[in-house]
Symmetry: C2
Subunit: 453 residues, 2 copies
């Protein structure tokens, strides 16, 4: 009765088929549930999901359509939500035993937006503890001996293994871009302030970003159009007209873009295979791509990121560590201790540096459409005690610039290796256009759905 092959449809394809009545929301949701049934025991992407509740949502969406109701852009599309994002119908436990069975009363703003757009909230995906470094149970769908990356481990793995076409994650350091790279999917960390964080566990107001995962760029654009926009409850969002992200990736690029190849001051942290792959990629792009070296002070970005994150998280989690420290991982204990040693003037200097570095990057975007750089130092490491190194993301998170990971390269053992494109602040739509151009230019090797597909 259920055709699991339907779960191969992209969100855009499924939305079209559902809208024209070729399939129902229930068909597509059941297909995703069937796929979950196939692979979840091995991947463990979900913290919570409830097939009956998912189907009930899909049934109501079908009934709404049958009544002649208006269809949202995500009508009948299952979406998985990282477990630090509040949902009124599923527990939200932050990946911490201290919050077991915590049930939010309200949806986060973005969850409410997804529901209004017709999405089926399929379940909650595994996060590292409080979206920091202590890993959850999820395995990498391309090789279960490896980490999926973190902290948005379950969202990346669920999309990569075809359990859902779309999922939501968050990034305070490298928690969207790194797992997207490790799991071989598309993902965007949008400009700081483009997507509301109201109802999402706060680690750091300055550094927290929310963004989606998808298996195609067009799907990524589709969901970002729903997620983006002003929310009076998130003081860092701005009243804007939401840009046409999906259109940006279906239109032809008006001009050949120019891409800055930025090795960054931590280039030697990338493994040799990655460095070679990116040197080759830059060369393959021809004169459209040329190396740009960042001024020396950009080397201070990693320390500044650390200072801001440690201080903000010590502020947020200090009382919890003091009161219920037994239930908190040692990495978080250490971070809180570190953050408590930072002085206010060190903190303010780090915030100032971030602003100044962001301004300096504008110069690049006057000449170039995007920066190209690795999404991670290499492919997903073997083992599950670590979620890998976020260093290739820290700078771009600190300055709040939008960045996309594209699964265009392959590294050691045929594992995916993400290409990171970074765009100008608040010009996420141009970044989408450039990503589309790049994706068409570079034929991905062995593009496939991971694990048994």
């Amino acid at each position: 009765m259920t055709d699991v092959a339907l779960s191969n449809l992209t969100a855009c394809q499924a939305a079209t088929e559902i809208a024209r009545g070729a399939i129902s929301a229930q068909d597509y949701t059941r297909a995703c549930l069937a796929r979950i049934e196939e692979v979840e025991s091995e991947i463990q992407a979900f913290a919570h999901f409830d097939p009956a509740h998912a189907i009930a949502q899909a049934r109501e969406l079908d009934a709404h359509k049958a009544r002649g109701g208006t269809l949202g852009p995500l009508h009948g599309i299952p979406v998985a939500i990282k477990d630090i994002i509040d949902t009124s119908d599923y527990p939200t436990e932050f990946g911490s035993p201290l919050f077991k069975d915590r049930r939010p009363f309200d949806d986060a703003t973005i969850v409410a937006k997804l529901r209004s757009a017709g999405a089926v909230i399929l379940g909650k995906t595994v996060t590292t503890e409080f979206a920091y470094f202590h890993p959850g149970k999820t395995r990498n769908p391309h090789d279960t001996a490896r980490t999926p990356g973190g902290s948005s481990s379950g969202s990346a793995a669920a999309v990569a293994s075809g359990m859902v076409p779309l999922a939501i994650g968050s990034q305070t350091n490298g928690s969207i871009i790194r797992p997207a790279s490790f799991c071989g999917v598309f993902a965007i960390k949008p400009s700081h302030g483009l997507v509301s964080r109201h109802g999402v566990l706060t680690l750091s107001r300055a550094l927290d970003h929310v963004g989606p995962f998808a298996r195609t760029l067009e799907d990524l654009g589709l969901i970002l159009e729903t997620l983006a926009g002003f929310d009076p409850e998130d003081p860092d969002t701005r009243p804007i007209a939401v840009p046409p992200f999906r259109k940006a990736v279906t239109e032809k690029f008006p001009l050949e873009p120019r891409i800055a190849f930025v090795r960054t001051p931590i280039w030697d942290k990338a493994d040799i295979a990655t460095r070679t792959a990116f040197e080759g990629l830059a060369e393959a792009l021809g004169p459209a791509c040329y190396p740009v070296e960042l001024p020396e002070r950009y080397a201070e970005a990693w320390e500044a990121h650390r200072v801001v994150m440690a201080s903000d998280m010590a502020h947020r989690f200090g009382a919890l560590v003091d009161q219920r420290g037994d239930g908190v991982s040692s990495v978080l204990h250490d971070l809180v201790a570190e953050g408590r040693k930072v002085t206010a003037t060190q903190y303010l200097a780090a915030r100032d540096l971030a602003q100044s570095l962001a301004k300096g990057l504008n110069e690049i975007f006057e000449e170039c459409n995007a920066i190209i750089t690795p999404a991670a130092p290499g492919v997903a490491p073997i083992g599950h005690n670590s979620t890998g190194n976020p260093a290739f993301c820290s700078l771009w998170t600190l300055v709040g610039l939008p960045s996309i990971s594209l699964p265009l390269l392959e590294g050691e053992g045929g594992m995916p290796l993400g290409v990171q494109l970074i765009g100008a602040r608040n010009d996420d739509v141009r970044l989408f256009r450039t990503a589309k151009w790049l994706a068409e230019k570079i034929t991905p090797k062995g593009k496939k759905r991971a694990k048994k597909s």
Copy 2:
């Protein structure tokens, strides 16, 4: 030839007379210069002024009018600018010998706005050192043995003594409201983010506010309409339609307002005369005014304000104190040392408390139009080694709420005593309406221009 009595005109009156051609911009400017000639040697409100340059500006404005040019709302009106606000045509020395003869290249945003509105930039007014506590040379026009208050000492004194109808000051703790109270003039510290601070010396992004002084509420509304509004260079301003402040004080109040009499947790810091005067005032207002007690945690506001100000100023002035400490006052040395001891988590907790206290006050404004409380613990103290106590302003500055000082009471020795009205955040226009209602209700005793008028 020059009629010094013209300087008695309010800005609104003068603007009308100039617009209809009854007097010229030069006439009004010369009258102000003549008044300065009369009293400046005693008051010492100005750090810099240049009569020839002022008259040249007025002459150009008259020529513009003669050519049939459009007149701005402040056409021909002299305005004095606190000496921490950049002006391209006058030095801007921050009240510090270390910045003697510093000449900014550009106008601050608000100075450029004033020029576009037709104002004559008459000169720069005395500020305490870096707008902190070390006093400048200015005397109180009502009694030169007393402080005019600070840090906007010169702006308050220049308006109070009739040297200019309008002046600009700034407040990080009590630097607009306190000198307005001590000098017996109207002034507003607008909602945080209503008026741009680009080109104004930054003490603390969270606490800095810019606002005007005037001898009437209508004049205050007139100039605030020019000052208010979005500036992409000040990240705390918002795109808004500028409210009709002047109209708000010329229209009849639609309903009898309700006023919350808030003694604040530092009530016992007010002297007995002030406490008695305010108890009497609250009673005189009848049932429209009733006491509201703030919850206990509001007592923490003063410490939080201190933590934020000390940290932000240590961040801003630390390097200067280290490199050129001989030229810096001991109070600023002490503040920097204090700020450097604050930890990042203490700083972040203080910022959070400020947000939370601000939210809590919303409840009052659901019932009441404004809060009434003293602008200062008493009248201007005798002596010039201190600029008085800002404690009755700290809470309202910390939470970013708009506050107006109205010169409606008289204290010891016939000295002015300001009534402070505080409004809901971003509802400065309702605050103006309420201030107008209050000013009409209470007949000020002995309203007059200070000193020899």
